[in-house]
Amino acid sequence: MIKLNLNSMTHQYSFLMIRYLKKQNFWFVFTPYFWLVLFFFIPLALIFKISISVSEWGMPPYRDLFSLSEEGFKIDSTLSNYLFIFSDPFYIRSYLNSLSLAFTSTILCLIIGYPIAFYVAKSQANIRIILLVLLIIPFWTSFLLRVYAWKVLLQGSGIINSILIHLGFITEPISMLHNHYAVILGVVYTYLPFMILPLYGYLVKFDLNLIDAANDLGAKPVNTFLKVILPLSLPGIIAGSMLVFIPVVGEFVIPEMLGGSDKLYFGKIIWDEFFVNRDWPVASALAMSGIVILVFPIVIFQLMYAKYNFKNE
């Protein structure tokens, strides 16, 4: 009786499985699934593994986590890499610097980008398309070259210094490169299109009559903006801010090209720890802590925001 039941169950199961595979097209789902497990998830797990390994001279420069020798199975793990990072204010400061850079530049991009996006979205249709193309061109131009352009401009013999001297504001060229203001300028410049384009996407759908309606009902322009326009463009603001904030947190190139030694950022610290100090376990521990400190808050925020949107709909 029981056997029969089991038989019919396995039969039913395999029948379902075959139907499932046929209907759902096994390879369609599992090719990208395998790919991401292999080249995204396993590498992350590997960083975690190395981050709790003991540093050692040699190649690879860490001791294997699990070892099987005459003394038996042994696990060689340590938290010292993490303790090292969090006991040294140098590393903590670099996380804070990265967060503050991302925060400052997101706010600046928003302040500069919002009026541009607003007026482009409110232009006549034929002008709007030309302006939109003009917005997209820098977006497609190589990121590295746009950073390099600022390096050229900010040189001691650069054009900005020449203009300032010509206008009589300064008499000697001032050094504008290699400080964290140059980094903020470079970040705002390169990431501005990432803020403007999603904002534009929401503002262009916006009904102009709503502004007239608010004005007719006697709202002051400030109130019209704060109570009508701003709430309706909030999804665009959030989307744009995410597109700026997320990559800037781990930014390496801009601080390397325009920045100096006055402020060090998270990306540069990992780079040096790996390529210069060759300390893989500490570099891995930095990366893992980076995920927890810099990436998790963003993910949690996005989940909460999605939930909030879902409730309101």
């Binding site: 080249f39 541009i116 193309v133 190589s142 050229v152 040189q155 501005l192 090209m257 790996f274 990366a287």
Partner: protein
Amino acid sequence: MQNTILRMNKIFFKILTLTIGFSFLYFPILTLIAYSFNDNKRVMVWKGFSFRWYKELFQNEQILEAFYTSIKIASLSATFATIMGVMIGFSLTRISKIPARPFFIFLSSSPLVMPEIILGLSLLLFFISSNHIIGFPSSKGQLTVLISHITFSVAFVAVIIQSRLSSYDKNIEEAAQDLGTIPNMIFWKITAPVILPSIISGWLLAFTLSLDDLVVASFTTGPGANTLPIVVFSKVRLGLSPEVNALSAIIMLIVVLAAISVYFINRSHIKK
């Protein structure tokens, strides 16, 4: 009267904002292009108009080879990433019975928020230890850069495809199913044409992501696989390079031509 003044004020403010905004976006690039015609090794000191740096650029084998490598990797990576991105987008919106579905969603969206420096580091360590264990990849090179680029581009394409697939009317597919069309046919005849514009923009995005990437490529590259950003970065990291100015001007020209053709294609599309 007061109304006209107010209106004039508004228009003035609008033009002022747009002028300042677009000057900020274009001033650095245009300066770079202007100085690419400067006949002086010292980039910022004007000596005279010449095409000297363009000539040197086209004789610089290192840059030309890197350009070729970059284009090759970018087009391959974009193609593979688009195929897999479509698979992910389709699976997540149309197939409900995926084993460990939340894990799949996590896998396909977290490369979007992962800092590229962590992605690069993890892939490099992965390639080193997989070489240690199974002997593959035998060395770092174009293949490892390609694999890395596919991995981070897939997520971006998947998001584009997914948003398109979840916004269009599913009933068309169901109607076809009710009429007895086989699933493969439904995909090729109905779903694929609908998402074609998203596929194209996904491919273009993946292509630019790969072409623009410096950090991940620096980690995963090896001998003979220097991409254009790696070569450019090594040239301008410490100083200025007039050849890179000329290169910027050429890239700008390509982008402007592409943008203009997109504009005209769009316009004829709208007219239709």
